[in-house]
Amino acid sequence: MTTNLAYQDEKKSNLRTRLVPGILLVVVGLAILLLFGLNIQPGLHTTFGLTPLGDKNVIPIPDLVLPVQSAIYVLVLVLVFVGAWQLARGVRSTNLLVGLVAFCFVAAFLIWAARGKSMDLVGMMNTSLVRATPIALAAMCGVVSERAAVVNIGIEGIMLMSALTSVMAATLTHNLFVGLLVGMLTGMLVAGLHAVLVIRFKVDQIISGVAVNIIGTGVSSFISNRYLESHIDRLNNSGTFPNVAIPLLVKIPILGPVIFENNILVYLMLILVGLLYVVLFFTPWGLRTRAVGEHPKAADTLGINVFMTRYVNVILGGCIAGIGGAYFTIGSVGRFDRIMTAGKGFIGLAAMIFGNWNPIGALGSSLIFGFADSLQVKMQILNTPVPTEFLQMAPYIVTMIVLAGLVGRVHPPAADGSPYEKQ
């Protein structure tokens, strides 16, 4: 009976993994044709700027000019062809297909939206990276602590506190690096509170995270209301980290101006992502962390200190989220406003799940959110008929669709969210 059920389940899921993406591809292809392909006068061109204007560090390269109609037809054909292939034969990687759909749709949309005009593609990609930075840092915080099986949904609260303290410290000492350091320490402190609650007192992890959010929001708004708003120059006016062009690397066409001409926090984020990836998967510490996250009892038996590992990871995660918090103030506007993180901590968590608890994957999904964010700004400039609010919804809808499609393929650490009882 059970084997029969399991067999049916498998058969159903096989059918689903083949049919659903195939139909999706064809449908999206046709949708692109209907939405963007039909009402175009032939002869229109879209220009994508590949060199930022007025940037002397960069070797100029010619712009990319595409004929609108044929470019869209090509994209539609690619989608329909791959969709038909998928229906007939089946391609293994759903990831690849979803990526293709997203790429074609976005490309078609951009070509259509900027028809007859030019668009600074490099600038937009740069903005995407910058906007993805706090999201990615929040996601890294999530990855580090959840790999040790501690769910931390208090990232939002941690980031708010760090944003506040870093701008205050930076303004008082006139030194942005002191601000960054204080932000990191604050993050560690607040995450430490979460750690003590969930590890020592075994509070439900989600509840403790909610409490951290409420307290973080409350304390930062309280201090801002009581002190910062009346002493702006003394406490809340720090300036921001300047953009630093990295010599030589910035000369690389396209990649140079996108990646190697940012402020230090963006570099720090990229380095952290790489470092975490290596550390998590290729060092003894990473192995221990993952063991604690997957099977704490086994890890304990082998002599790993489960509680200590969890404390270290959660507090380290807090440190990373602290950098993310500092980004909001000393990394971008130089001033604290109440509730300025605006849900980035939660989006970071979505990026972490989306990226399958892997630092690189989480960075990738953060970039998607960052791109959607910058797209919406660009669309306002280009004056497209689509209301910006709908463009702003897009990343959230995409997340939901992807999460629904990814099922069975995201694997949270097995012990995620459960406290450990030593016996």
Partner: protein
């Protein structure tokens, strides 16, 4: 020893059982009560620390220690006094108001005196409903962070029905507007529930995503299709026939919404504890594998629980529109999401507990504004106290450790789970 036990008469065992039961009830209430007390004590410390006069007094503590203590006491007493006055009112004013009414027939002083109290009850109304929404989710093992979005959509839907339909009698229009709010919220809750059931996509992320979608949707609606003529992004005011009737003349906004909320609490209690579907929902929440093995349909229960949860949150939005504001503006649902989670936790996900927790929460929120204007303490102090209360309620061990309470064995319930399960 044995003989003694066998010889005890039934009366004694009965009273002992009663005693044990009452001590258990006391224990259940003791921890939340001490949690609230501790939250207020820490809040008092923060009030004192952020008061300039107190800081100044402590700078010459060694010359005049009495003055420092007096300044501290004054700061705390002023703040909490204002909080109390702002949320409950003054008893002597109410007393004089009643006296005055009987002497002269003038209702005005009385109404002014009960204004803070009725205003608190008005604030409590959406908190009861939104707290119930989250509690229903918890009972099914689902963590609905999306009450805020469901609240917002519910408010928009009921406002739309409220202003667009004209010429209906109130007994048709008002229920219709309330239903529209509930339906909007239900839809917004059902989608994540369905996705959780069908594909396993985690409801926490999906409800957060639905929140953001609802903010953008409401931004668009308020600046476009639903915008009233004028500069500000507001909906038109609703028709009189769709308003929840108020009990008192104008500055007092206390209305039928409060009793609707209480009725919904009774309904949720009945639904969860006296019906088969409610039992299934609780079974799925307690042990999904067990429920599945017993032949219950997990997907169905997820969808029902999230639909009910969303409907309650949407109804909260509807009561706010139909009873209080009569229009919807931007950022209408801000803050309700987290507050409702906190209320559900504080009320231990039980309808009665939720009502009590909402009473406390709404009263504090309502009094906080007064505290800010009278004592200069930012309203955010309430958020801090609330966060602390949640911590202490969720970690009874901390409270027991502080107050040296003997540990008794109580059933622990798993409220939430990790992402994957």
């Amino acid at each position: 020893m044995d003989a003694k036990v066998t010889q005890t008469n039934p009366e004694a065992t009965k009273s002992a059982g009663k005693q044990r039961q009452s001590s258990k009830l006391l224990q259940t209430l003791l921890v939340p009560a001490l949690a609230v007390l501790t939250g207020f004590i820490i809040g008092a410390i923060m009030i004192a620390l952020s008061n300039d006069a107190v800081i100044a007094a402590y700078q010459n503590f060694f010359h005049a220690p009495g003055a420092a203590v007096a300044a501290t006491w004054k700061a705390i007493a002023t703040a909490y006094g204002a909080l109390f006055y702002g949320s409950i009112g003054s008893f002597s004013e109410i007393y004089h108001g009643i006296q005055n009414y009987f002497a002269t027939g003038d209702r005005k002083p009385f109404l002014l005196a009960i204004y803070p109290f009725t205003e608190s009850l008005t604030t409590v109304t959406p908190y009861i409903l939104a707290g119930l929404a989250v509690a229903v989710g918890f009972k099914c093992g689902l963590f609905n962070i999306g009450a805020e979005g469901q609240f917002g959509i519910g408010a928009l839907c009921s406002a739309f029905v409220g202003y667009s339909l004209k010429g209906l009698p109130w007994f048709v229009h008002l229920p219709l507007a309330l239903l529209a709010g509930a339906a909007g919220g239900a839809l917004w809750g059902a989608i994540p529930g369905l996705m959780k059931g069908l594909t396993g996509a985690h409801e926490v992320v999906n409800t957060i995503m639905m929140n953001y979608i609802s903010y953008r949707l409401s931004d668009w609606l308020l600046n476009g299709p639903m915008k009233a003529p004028g500069y500000r992004p507001l909906t038109p005011g609703i028709q009189d026939s769709a308003m929840l009737p108020r009990f008192f003349p104008d500055p007092l906004r206390f209305n039928w919404g409060f009793f609707l909320a209480l009725a919904m609490a009774v309904f949720v209690y009945w639904f969860l504890f006296k019906t088969t579907i409610g039992f299934e929902i609780r079974a799925v929440g307690a042990n999904p594998d067990g429920a599945r093995y017993a032949g219950m349909n997990i997907v169905k229960n997820f969808v029902i629980a999230m639909t009910l949860s969303g409907a309650l949150a949407g109804l909260a939005g509807a009561t706010q529109v139909l009873g209080i504001d009569h229009w919807v503006g931007q950022g209408y649902s801000a803050g309700y999401g987290f507050d409702s989670i906190a209320i559900a936790l504080l009320g231990q996900s039980h309808p009665v507990g939720v009502v009590l927790a909402a009473l406390l929460w709404g009263t504090l929120r309502s009094g906080a504004t007064r505290m800010q204007s009278l004592a200069g303490v930012p309203t955010e102090i309430i958020s801090i106290i609330q966060g602390l209360v949640i911590v202490f309620v969720a970690a009874p061990a901390v409270i027991r450790w502080i107050y040296r309470i003997r540990t008794i064995r109580t059933e622990t319930t798993v409220l939430t789970r990790g992402w994957g399960k």
